[in-house]
Symmetry: C2
Subunit: 341 residues, 2 copies
């Protein structure tokens, strides 16, 4: 899929040059997403200009805003109350932004969403505190909505996500990680938050527990597929489209499924191992490894798994009574399936 | 004051060799502090052993636990409910621990409370996530207590404290900081949290608003004096007693009051400036600067200010009706005044 197709699948280039988001096809979602954007912009404003700049850089770089959109859409399955849902959706995006900023410190990442990362531009001092600041703002916003219970959810997920990140850290450079361990890791890293976004939206709108449960399952499956796609893009994408250097995961010792499959399940494994053993392992060696992964079938294996999770997401939606929002969630699956960044 | 005096002022050496804390003199406080300790230990347990170890190291290194003690003591001015106060007090200590761990990343600190810091022992990856994990646990605990409102408090303070830390960061190596700007900085860095600990304790016990306000003022004044003492100890203490290398603030460009006073208000200022201008500024240069600060009266100036804040703390207590807990808070002032670490 050429890059222009990608842009049209996520952002529609407007005649005047400004971008319309994917959500503009769904006015009831777009209207609410605009409010979320306003809340986000107001929230990152602080007297500490350097924190504001670091947050604003990330905010303005865009991103897909899938998490707040999931909350809004799932909330529309019930008694939608904009005054509760918008701050909560914004809180979930802020929370996600905080984890991105802290992740970038750890990965020593130079670029994110095509722009320089906070830690690279402002130093790790500012990055640590900007992440903490966004965390606290996320909790603050969430606390204004629901007096306690949703905060409990959010805190539990912060905890789970931190545990997931630590898990990833301790298994760095470990190529013995099994596919199931890997899937558990991305559950913590991405799927839980996608599921939470769906769940809290539906809960606050007082949906039937059966609907809440299936929307959460939809979110979990979509999040898993999303992370598998992200991991694929690190291997198959190009730097410009993806907005960060490809092969970075391998360079940093974060071994994802295409890599793990290749090393553990194919005759190409030994070749990869030999490259890993080289002294002064560089980006050039990574390119060689990526070439081997492509030959080995590691990409196709991961793509198949990704597809299975999209199917799971569809199945969850099929289990709930038909609703006008269901086609949006189905469209979102297709958009995710075809994204190239 | 010799070190043995200090120990008896904070920890009483028991005959069998185990330590009794300062609070053992006050059974009603000690009993609750023991419960806080249990909650802290249970809370840092996680399947991610490395996070648990990093948290446990800091927990076991002790520290004075002043913040949770303030919450417990101030709560005893009203209708004390242990089931609410203990988790909240533990949350405040966890929150403090999280900020310590993140501070150490930024300061590149090697030691804290006499032990190796998380970032030095486990790397910044683990330190960033351990801090985040403790933050989330703090919010989680606080959310179980009070459904929303106290979380709002806590989040606001995280925000304020992050802003304070950023303020400190942006003014690093700036020796033009005025005494009033410096006092504002330590307000955010330390005093607000001390004040919050007192305030939420009294609030949850449904104290009279006048009492809540004055207990908060007590906490703010005590916190300010506490930070001034900390800054003094960085200049006057010795590595072993303080548990971290002295002069570290100056080395890291964090200029505190004894330093700022000397450079801005005394004839010794130029001498200090000349040393700062040296290439390859080292610990030896810091020792020279500390010597000059001592000659210049910078220590005495800061001590006088510290005393004024203890006096303010006493005044706040005098404004509220006599209560059996007041003598504990007065004793705490004396303990703080004479501490040497």
């Amino acid at each position: 899929m050429p890059m222009t197709d990608l842009r049209s699948s996520i952002n529609v280039q407007h005649e005047e040059g400004d971008e319309l988001s994917f959500w503009s096809k769904y006015p009831n979602v777009q209207k609410e997403m605009d409010k979320v954007e306003d809340v986000l912009e107001k929230t990152v404003k602080t007297r500490r200009k350097i924190v504001e700049e670091a947050s604003m850089d990330l905010l303005k770089a865009g991103g897909k805003r899938i998490r707040p959109a999931l909350t809004i859409i799932c909330a529309q399955y019930g008694n939608y109350d904009s005054s509760k849902i918008v701050p909560l959706a914004a809180a979930l995006e802020l929370f996600h932004m905080a984890t991105l900023i802290h992740d970038d410190i750890i990965d020593n990442a130079k670029k994110r969403r095509g722009i320089e990362t906070a830690q690279s531009k402002y130093g790790k001092d500012v990055a640590v505190y900007t992440g903490d600041y966004l965390f606290s703002k996320a909790f603050l916003l969430a606390a204004t909505v629901n007096h306690g219970e949703k905060i409990l959810h959010l805190s539990r997920f912060v905890k789970a996500i931190c545990e997931g990140e630590i898990e990833q850290h301790v298994s760095k450079y470990n190529y013995h990680t099994s596919a199931s361990t890997y899937l558990k890791r991305i559950k913590y890293k991405t799927a839980l938050l996608f599921g939470l976004c769906c769940q809290v939206g539906a809960e606050i709108s007082e949906c039937d527990p059966y609907i809440i449960r299936n929307l959460r399952k939809y979110g979990m499956a979509l999040g898993t597929a999303f992370q598998l796609k992200d991991d694929l893009l690190d291997v198959t994408g190009n730097d410009e489209t993806v907005g960060k250097p490809t092969g970075n995961d391998i360079l940093e010792g974060v071994y994802t499924l295409p890599f793990l499959y290749t090393i553990q399940n194919t005759a190409y494994g030994q070749e990869v191992l030999n490259i890993l053993k080289r002294h002064h392992f560089t980006k050039k060696d990574v390119t060689e490894i990526i070439h081997i992964i492509k030959q080995s079938g590691g990409i196709q294996y991961t793509k198949n798994l990704e597809d299975r999770y999209y199917d799971k997401a569809v199945s969850s939606l099929k289990r709930i009574p038909d609703h006008e929002c269901t086609h949006i969630l189905l469209d979102l699956i297709e958009m995710m399936r075809h994204r190239m960044s």
